[in-house]
Subunit: 385 residues, 4 copies
């Protein structure tokens, strides 16, 4: 037991607000009774603006990985071709899942420092004259790299190619933190989960579903039961679930939605943008490099910091955990040991960011990484502005 | 907001102890850090005695329905034959799932008042000389009927037939309430969930897995990703998860296990047996009929009460909810409107049972069901003994 | 750790509703900041109707005993005469306090089975032609006996005597449970606390103060600092405190007030009346005697049960605690060992009362007290009506 | 509802750890039952090392102000002379209380930048050859100024004068944060409360009592009831209270004591010393002045920062509250508007301090106070060392 609060600055799970934790601690109720129906109808309605949709959103008792699977098995059939992009670790894992489920994945290689290239989307789809590609899989915000793909431009590329592929977008680490618009951007299935921008513990997976995706679901032949949208959409009509619902996390979701509504989504996004800008100011102030290589694609949810080969990012993280009781994200997969990730999403404010960046600066110094101690000052200048 | 505590006497979700709710309200931590590993290793170890196993138990972020699916997709291949029994509503739903996943189900009809007949098991397996039946699916405690199947006798029947079929057992409403022994009874996959005898909110699904099931998993060809045991067993070795774990419910599980350990499993089972006996004494004292028709198969977790055709069980439930703020279980499927179910499992004691049965008695009277008001006294005599 | 919820059926502290406990668990805030002022102004306003007053109510960080002291030291001077009544243990303790503080107490003896006799009040005041009696001290609901004094008749007696004495009333175990009207009944200081009808943990003491009491305070010369009304009334104007306020209990008070407002005070009182009637029906059904000897004075907050000399009430209580995990109130002072007390106040409902009375009945039987087991049925008939 | 956690950096109430808040949210129990006795005996024993005493500690349901009053009324008689020192606002308030209770206070004037001067203590006592001074009242850590008086030197001064006066010490903002030794330093009554170093909400007042104080209590004639030690010491023997105890705060105290024991008091004090040093480094780095004028007397619990006359400290505080959601302490009494106070006590760690000082730096800049932005860097250097 260490004094003070742990700084949970991984890019999710994020710091769960006290009031959300207290909401989750309410007694579980009868999931077939009227109070549950009221709760479910309420959150199913209020979650829609967060996705930017007027269509249905299914909320699973699952992690976000389950919501990935749900998106695939509800819309695709064995042997279907899908187009995916190696933007980082999670895009790679989603690719692996798709292959494991029997899909054929066209996986466009990437350097983990850029998002999905809309030009490549356009090119691949244009080349697919027989329309064998059933879906395009995009990770909106790559949690492993801090790179945010430009979904509207990807949508435009699909449209330019006049291709019927579904657009499946993973917003696991962007939803509720970075501006996102399921309907306006023509996304067919938006995948998300509870433990990032929604400020909840893990345990809820989400699918926002377009009309086109619903139509595709009718013919999709991947086997499914737990993830099947159809019984959800039917039961949700009356505020019920096809099986036992995650009641206590739904209590938490109702509270988290109240928090987002109270601050207002535009203010939430602006806050994340400011914090990301301050973080990049610190990183550059220290003389270090941000992993994301395209100014248009900086994530407002997390910042991955790239160290040179002489310094072990995991050693830096370990020092920071031991000395300052702060968890940072490790470099995953290809960038393991080279990168550490600072999460600045969810329930977060200026002074907690200042504490976070102070801890990173001191940890870098203690680890012997040469840094300019003016980094923290550069961040404060952004925050003060 | 009504005065006093709601009586949640459905057969699950059950009343979550305050200390479990408070445990769940702890701040979420880094699921890749050392504190999480300690938590996970702890609960993965301490859950084993509850299943009566020394083998692995996988804990999913899911409802119990997901754990059903996990048991099937990890052990079976498309087109496999399975033997199942119509013991009630949930056995029927599990059958539906198996069929939906592409299995061929031999579904033995039942009257919803008896458990699985071991003689029929023996007979069917003996007839399957080519060993086409890959698995026998049994619901240990039928939550829809209050009938507990005799798993050891079923095991013996399989053994007598010298049949290699796997034995898959659903303990969703029995685990932690009714004596159960995965290893001793030779069960291959035991399915369970969090919101019944484990006294947690919904959100965790469990599979306890035998050596034989692990071997079967190697050749199982149903597609799977989220439910795949292999990456779980590998990651769990070091206390991690293959994807984001349900951290806060695991906090709750740790606390719930401490409660079970403190009382001691034999005492827990004896308590449930006493409460079930007292409940049946009340039902018979009222002059009503228990749905379960075999004295060897009465459930210690819930009691389904059968009304005659002149009285609507749902009307009784509605009166009890409105007047006495108590939720009872509805009759499901075939027995809808004819039956109501009294849950007496989980975190429960004598006086809460006395209050529960008092509420049922008053509700029956108010609904015009002719009952002998000595029912409550008969129950108190059992409790006092 | 025992299974199920403890039955806390002492006449206070009462069962604190979960939502009040969660409210108390909110982070403490700056007691000189705007959020605190908003909280304090809110509860100071909303507490008034509970006392039936439009005047000021002071809320101390203290137990109810502190509120007793506050009432005395703010209104009286060393050597002042006060009239008090031996209605039970707490009236006696309050008398002791008054004497300890240097007041001269005229203590009218009583048999602990009746409330304050308005005729005696009239007589004593009439005899006090020189108006030496500065205050009349009345315990509205004697927590040790379950007898409720008739304050309006006492008021009328004072008025008939045309006597200027202040009327000080202890509502520690009646406020928020039994109809009470500070203004209408002409009470000068009403004393109360948090842990009974207000459904909070212990830690708040209350004084509701009439204009006449405020005027008396100007000349009162008992030394005082912590309890001094004047700095409270001044600081409370702007929502602040003269010293560090009990912030977290005030969070709880706000929530408890919301519960009372939601049910409505008349409904709250009617509920307590029904539960008290059902309890008396049980006691009489068992063939036992209620301590309160005047039908006009039965408490709706608790019922004291009188055993004959052959049976030890504390043994009954001990059996009930050991076997059924229920706490009942002991006989105090003069009636120690002869009486046990059933609390049925605060956050309470029909089925919890049924469980409570079931436990009492079983405990009496186990203790060898001859009782008619029809007692519980008699109670259920009242509850069902 | 603002995003992220509020920074409560007033010098108390301090940030209550989550686990303490959850402990407080446990259901209230029977204060006359065995579980309560176990709780009370446990905390009454474990609180002793925090005071550095092997003698009794009384825990009141009250604020710290009540504990002040308790120390006076238990040991003194009307007209007694006491020696007190104007070290700041709280010393002045305590003086006012003493006078209000009828004591004669010799109040040594001070400049609010120094602690009690042991030489003056020696001089005044030496001059009091008739031993009219019954007690010396010292505020250990002046919460209004951030100055810590040197109690051992004060004790030595009393001893040198060979004077029998009692030594009464207020440790309201030092206990559990700054090294303190009731027995070793020969203190007679140590006064404290819950909401500072003990990391609890307000609501508990403490008196640690020497043998000499107990002896003095026998002859003390100030009237007392609520604060009377005698019935406490008697009831506490068996783990009970003379009136209804503050059960839920005692739950919290048990948890807070576990936290202090887990870290270890020497580590707790060293942590506070480091944080205070880092804070002073920041203040001096900004080019500002610390109010405390004696290097031997810097408080490790809070730092008061003195602004020049051109800048309004309250404006700085308001900007910081509005922009950065941080509460700082106002200048009180004589230094109102000239001083703001940074609390760095209780449940606190390096990164929260870094965030705090970052917020102060930005707030000063926004308020137009000329500061060197290197202040934060100077603090980080101390923290990193």
């Amino acid at each position: 037991m260490r004094a003070g609060r742990h700084f949970l600055q991984i890019p999710g799970p994020t710091n769960v607000p006290d009031r959300v934790l207290r909401a989750i601690a309410q007694p579980t109720i009868d999931h077939r009774g009227p109070d549950f129906a009221e709760l479910a109808l309420d959150v199913l309605r209020r979650i829609k603006p967060v996705f930017g949709t007027s269509g249905p959103v299914v909320i699973y008792p699952s992690s976000g990985t389950g919501a990935w699977e749900a998106a695939l098995v509800n819309t695709l059939s064995p042997g279907d071709h899908v187009l995916a992009f190696e933007t980082g670790h999670f895009a790679t894992l989603w690719r692996d899942m798709a292959e494991g489920l029997g899909l054929v994945v066209d996986f466009v290689p990437g350097d983990w420092r850029h998002g999905v290239d809309p030009a490549v989307v356009a090119e691949r789809l244009a080349a697919d004259t027989r329309h064998r590609i059933a879906a395009v899989m995009v990770v909106h915000n790559e949690t492993s790299t801090g790179v945010t793909s430009r979904v509207p431009e990807i949508r435009a590329a699909i449209d330019r190619a006049d291709h019927p592929a579904l657009l499946l977008v993973d917003t696991i680490s962007s939803l509720g933190s970075i501006d996102y618009r399921h309907d306006e951007w023509g996304v067919d299935v938006t995948i998300s989960c509870s433990q990032k921008g929604l400020m909840l513990p893990p345990g809820l997976g989400f699918n926002a579903i377009s009309e086109k995706a619903l139509a595709a679901a009718e013919g999709a032949r991947l086997p499914k039961s737990y993830w099947n949208w159809a019984p959800f959409l039917e039961a949700n009509e009356r505020g019920y679930y096809p099986y036992t619902p995650p009641t206590n996390l739904l209590y938490g979701l109702r509270e988290a939605l109240a928090l987002l509504e109270s601050e207002g989504l535009p203010a939430v996004f602006a806050r994340h943008d400011r914090h990301a800008a301050a973080t990049r100011a610190a990183v550059r102030g220290w003389g270090l490099e941000v992993l994301c290589a395209d100014e248009r694609e900086h994530s407002s949810a997390l910042t991955a910091v790239l160290l040179d080969e002489e310094h072990d990012a995991n050693k830096v993280r370990q020092i920071i955990l031991d000395r300052f009781d702060m968890s940072l994200g490790a470099g995953l997969g290809k960038v393991s040991g080279r990168v550490f990730r600072i999460g600045h999403l969810g329930d977060f404010n200026d002074l907690t960011l200042a504490g976070t960046l102070s801890g990173v600066q001191m940890g870098l110094e203690l680890a012997g990484v040469p840094v300019d101690p003016g980094g923290i000052r550069a961040a404060l200048e952004v925050l003060r502005a």
